[in-house]
Amino acid sequence: MDRKPFAITLDIASSLANHTGSWRSERPVYVDGLPPCSNACPAGEQVQQWLYAAEDGSYETAWRRLVEVNPFPAVMGRVCYHPCETACNRGQLDTAVGINSVERFLGDEAIARGWRLPDPEPPTGKRVLVVGSGPAGLSVAYHLWRRGHEVVVHEASARPGGMMRWGIPEFRLSREVLDAEVDRLVAAGVRIECDRPVTDLAGTMAAGRFDAAFLAVGAQIGKRAGIPAGQAARVLDALSVLFSVAGGERPQLGRTVVVYGGGNTAMDAARTARRLGAEEAVVVYRRTRERMPANEIELQEALAEGVQVRWLSTITQVDEGRLTVERMELDEQGVPRGTGVFEELTGDCVVLALGQDVDRTLLDTVPGLQVVDGVVQVDASMMTGAPGVFAGGDAVPSARSVTVSIGHGREAAGHIHAWLEPSQRREPATEPAAAVPVSFEQLNPWYFSDAPHAVRPRLEKGRLTGDFGETVLGLDEGTALYEARRCMSCGSCFDCDNCYGVCPDSAVLKIAGAHGYEIDLDYCKGCGLCAEECPAGAIVMEPEPG
């Protein structure tokens, strides 16, 4: 037996024998909060999660996370109005993360590298008819195909894409990009039959032995206004103009073009008019800029291209080469009313962009399907009054954007799947709690490096109105990576090691070979330093159980 050193009577022991975890009244818990970007995405993208993958250059992983939800990242990266960026907490630190531009980079990367969509589930033997090949129709087709259903999309026109092809001008969405993403879907196994308008739904479904149908017929009829017009007055419809340009025509609109309306279509029409040679493109809108339905980005880009806007004005009379507008004012409710002050403008033609109606030709033949206020009524599962007939996109009450429609398609696919496979239907046990996105106050922004404006990549403007080429260019890899890395990872651990470092008791452990950490409850005293110093707000202190 060893002799102990002088004056030592006990064996030397480690303080590990002392389980200081018993002092604790609160314990840290890792959480996955809801990032505001994901919360705001109408398509349902898990933005923070794909940015996380992109941050270390795992672009294909990032893209695969994207296409879990959205089959068209390259399109979305061009035409989405990115409510994610509006919601981004980084906007409160310096400027929002350029999520949309990173999405475009990933989408373009996928096209360039020929990444293929994920394999579908084994065939179910069920067949679904999709009417319309716009974003809602193709999205529902994609998500049903992934679940193993056979999908056939019937498209009335000669080319697939719906409003992505016929409504959105080429200077916002290159047709090569659209074709590449649609072709990828077709190559994967989604059947799209063009020049196949559906006029008899029941007949088409019976002939094709379809078990369910999804109507994505869009809203493509321009609203007319009863404006008194002289014999030789030229009054056109904005959608018709956009359709003809998308079809390769170059209609002559004149030197001065007046666009009537304040929505996104009005902006597209005015910008198109500039490209068709109009020296002046004037948008006439009856309310104020604050109340304009057009997206701010669209307005900005239109103004940058020299489009003019006359606020608080209505057109009361159109004649050859000129028109009369009345000055408006807003009453207390914000409703515009005439002031009796009239003005005359020159204008070689007037383009009406006053909103769009749904074509009811097919809809009115479907028994049980109801159309109220010009839009198709659907229940919470997106089913119309006709059993097994679902609807989405611009034809149902919605905010009418590509992103919203892609979200509709994904949501409807889930409902249609549940309809087709009732045994797999999972009723939600309880209503999910209203998820509150992680706020800026829950973060510890001290840790995020300053990303000064000068360093922030700015999208270069291409030649503006010279041709129909895309005006917004993509990011190179360096700047896309930089943008992705500006993500603050709101509510989600991103392995920064702060908790591991700041624990005075060394009670935070790394999980070997995996993402994340765990708390050593034998020694954690519950001081809360890890939670306080977590940059992402991904740790909360909870009362000790019992």
Partner: protein, 336 residues
Amino acid sequence: MSAMPSRPVDVPFYQVGTRAVGNRLLDPALRTEQANPGRRNGLNSGHRACQGCGEALAARYVLDAANRATGGRLVTVNATGCLEVFSTPYPESSWQVPWLHSLFANAASVASGVAAALAAQGRDDVRVLAQGGDGGTVDIGFACLSGMFERGDDVLYVCYDNGGYMNTGVQRSGSTPPAARTATSEAVGPEPGALFGQGKDAARIAVAHDIPYVATATVAELRDLEAKVARAMEIRGPRYLHVLVPCPLGWGTAPGETVKLARLAQRSGFFPLFEAEHGEVVSSTPIRGRVPVEEYLRPQKRYAHLFGEPGRPDVVARLQAVADRNIARYDLLREG
């Protein structure tokens, strides 16, 4: 060629830059030692420091950095104080480094002796690090420390400054800042708390010894702290590192706010970060996001008497003047 991270390194923009402890996007060699899964944990779990103890955190930061810098050839000497009391209740020890404890006053002298013994054995590969609190350093052990400096002994002395004698009941020390309430500087009378004009700026006194290296650090600036330990270990002779370590018990702050308070001390200018070599200040850490000193003082109960009704805005202004003087002295607002 040293693989040591020095100042926050200039890497392309990485989410949290290099401010966080680690970063999955950074080369492991560029991360802090605290991010290293194989770090020494010089002060191990199971110690009996209070919840959120800044001193326990700083001791592990310093020892792990020193361990990395010396390749594990390190002897430590500890003064009496919180650090010694909470880490070594006989027969348990939290220390995972060779560790000696003698008396309250003589850590610097014992360290000098250890260095002399090693020198006598020709062991220049083993480095000596002495550590103590502000009581053991700035008050009780000050003569020993000054002697160690003057003799030129090859020791890095680290003072963990929590501004008082905390484990004996929060008495005032020579490092207690003005106006702070302690058990022996009560918040009464026209000059409540510790008096202005008393107390010592130990780091500046160390600089006045013209020793090879003096630096200040806080538990909120880990990279800065690790870089200073690494720098100190590149140098021979007497060196001094003064680390601000908030004390939830003595300061009357929430345990989870320890790092935040250290950060506010630095961002307000109240605790300046600098390095000096051979009597000259050679660098300082500019303030990123300056805050008024009030933001640092308000969360601390030891300053509560300044903020009640009617409060003592005049005293707060005098404390702000202290911070302003530091900012001017070390040029802390320059573009960093």
